[in-house]
């Protein structure tokens, strides 16, 4: 782990150091909010392959990684981007053409699996999914699981309540812990040491960070340590969980970052259009991901006016009256 007081590095350095072919990755955010998109685009530019990805409901970030061919295995609860893609298009195509192996859980189950990893437990119990195909149908075969030491032998299991009817529960579902090789999240504020503050909903980012072996934080603002320590009640990530701090303004673009900017409906709609067709999607990647060197160049290419349109209103934290058709 990185015990330095200054963990600030460039995005290429952080990805090069902590994300490699075949590693087990989890990214923060939810559907179209606070996905670490700058990091996702850098992973695509670095042509990192054979990733095993864990997600609860990360929509846009996962779909672009899948579409770019970086992912071979995905454990997930929900692959959608809200109104912009009820089912993520590249995810859907990859599953239908058999190029992506998927293991389905519920959102709570994926959250509990990260929580178990964060708590240092092999599993967490829940009462969710009893009687469903989430229990009966496994995406990863038993041989596939038993041959891979980085996978638990069982997708999940059902047990009787060993305390009788205590809690009025006769049966529990146990879901196995996740300890990703690396978790990447995007936050509003971080200091050079790694203490981080998320504004608005935290989703499962805190659990994803604490479950991981290595952690990359990308942040809108790199701030002085004292400015975070004046109000420690509002910080969620202790610095000793963090390995890399990367300042990236608009690092969640085109997804939203509460109190900073909204999602970009134009980008997300164009993306969905492009994703429908192989050639158009390859052109999208060439133009918006591979064709630029970093997030700054992406923003320049998209255009300053679009950033102005999605700028968050200070009262509400989002872009009031934004044209979202």
């Amino acid at each position: 782990m990185n015990t330095s007081d200054n963990k600030v590095m460039t995005l290429p350095d952080a990805i090069l150091r902590y994300v490699s072919d075949g590693c087990h990755l989890s990214i923060g955010g939810f559907t179209i909010n606070r996905n670490p998109m700058a990091a996702v685009y850098e992973i695509i530019r670095r042509k990192i392959k054979r990733l095993h990805v864990y997600a609860h409901s990360n929509g846009q970030g996962i779909d672009e990684l899948v579409g770019a061919g970086c992912v071979v295995k995905l454990e997930i609860a929900y692959a959608g981007s809200g109104r912009f893609a009820p089912t993520c298009v590249r995810f859907r195509k990859a599953v239908e053409d058999g190029s992506l192996a998927v293991e389905d859980y519920s959102n709570y189950q994926m959250t509990l699996r990260f929580l178990a990893g964060a708590m240092g437990l092999p599993f967490m119990p829940t009462r969710s999914s009893l009687g469903t195909d989430i229990i009966d149908k496994w995406g990863f075969t038993k041989p596939m699981r038993e041959s891979d030491p980085k996978l638990p032998d069982k997708k999940l299991l059902v047990m009787d309540n060993p305390f009788g009817d205590w809690g009025d529960a006769s049966h529990l579902v146990l879901v196995p812990a996740i300890n990703p090789d690396v978790t990447i999240i995007h936050v509003q504020k971080a200091d050079p040491q790694g203490t981080s503050r998320i504004e608005g909903l935290t989703f499962a980012d805190v659990e994803q960070v604490k479950a991981a072996r290595k952690v990359i934080i990308t942040c809108e603002e790199l701030v002085e340590t004292d400015s975070l320590r004046e109000k420690p009640d509002q910080n969620q990530i202790p610095f000793f969980c963090v390995d890399a701090v990367v300042p990236v303004p608009f690092g969640a673009y085109p997804t939203a970052c509460f109190r900073h900017y909204d999602y970009d409906p134009v980008y997300l709609n164009d993306y969905r259009q492009a994703a429908q067709d192989e050639t158009r999607f390859q052109n999208y990647l060439k133009e918006f991901v591979l064709g630029v060197d970093n997030q700054d160049e992406l923003l320049e290419h998209v255009g300053k006016d679009r950033m102005d349109k999605i700028k968050a209103d200070p009262r509400t934290g989002y872009a009031v009256g934004l044209d979202r058709r």
Partner: protein
């Protein structure tokens, strides 16, 4: 000629199922419209609640996703996924939650599929997957289900059971250990269906104006 769309009728029909004090689990789209309608018309003290952790959001604009920043504004608490689902699994608060959900397929016991059409390992069509739907259907006091009334969506058996309804019938939820109350109504663009208290099978409760029972039958 009605001066409302079927979609508006569906939202209002669902809104009428919501009482003051209910904690309303919302997805996006029509389920959010239903919750907003209830809060603004019939149940001002109902509580809009999202799986992302937002509690009693002040929705000045319609969110386009449950993680839309619009759900984070002026809430009672901005929590996490872990908090939100614990509220639904909780033995005291879970009973007060009404879940509103949709699906690609539904069977006569209200079991839902939002994962695949065809074989799970070689799907004809892949959908988003459960998200929080399976959790909500497992945990909460009662669920309201939205469906488009089409033959292909009302099936004898769902291709993948994503979210538990009444499973195979009476007593099955209790037997297998599910805490929640199960589905109460199905609202479509044509009619409202309930579930028989004994058989737990779906039955036609009523048709919207201009729709006949035969018309409904023809679409399922």
């Amino acid at each position: 000629m009605a001066e409302y769309s079927p979609r508006e009728m569906m939202a209002i029909a669902a809104a009428r199922q919501i009482k003051d004090g209910d904690i309303v689990f919302c997805g996006t789209g029509i389920s959010m419209l239903a919750a907003m309608a209830a809060k603004h018309i019939s149940a001002p003290n109902s509580i809009i609640f999202f799986e992302t952790g937002a509690i009693d959001s002040r929705l000045e604009e319609v969110p386009l996703a449950v993680a839309d920043s619009r759900v984070m504004h002026w809430t009672s608490v901005n929590g996490s996924l872990a908090d939100a689902f614990a509220t639904m699994q909780n033995r005291h608060t879970g009973k007060r939650v009404v879940g509103i959900m949709g699906a690609a397929q539904i069977d006569r016991f209200g079991n839902l599929n939002s994962t695949v059409i065809g074989d799970y390992h070689r799907p004809k069509v892949r959908f988003s997957g459960s998200g929080g739907a399976c959790d909500v259907a497992s945990f909460v006091g009662r669920t309201i289900i939205f469906m488009q009334h089409e033959k292909r969506k009302f099936v004898k058996q769902v291709d993948y059971l994503t979210s538990p309804g009444w499973l195979d019938g009476p007593g099955q939820r209790e037997k297998i250990g599910l805490p929640g109350g199960g589905p109460s109504v199905v609202i479509t663009n044509m009619a409202i269906m309930g579930f028989d208290s004994d058989s737990k099978e779906m039955f036609l409760k009523g048709c919207f104006p201009g729709i006949s029972a035969q018309g409904v039958q023809a679409c399922m």
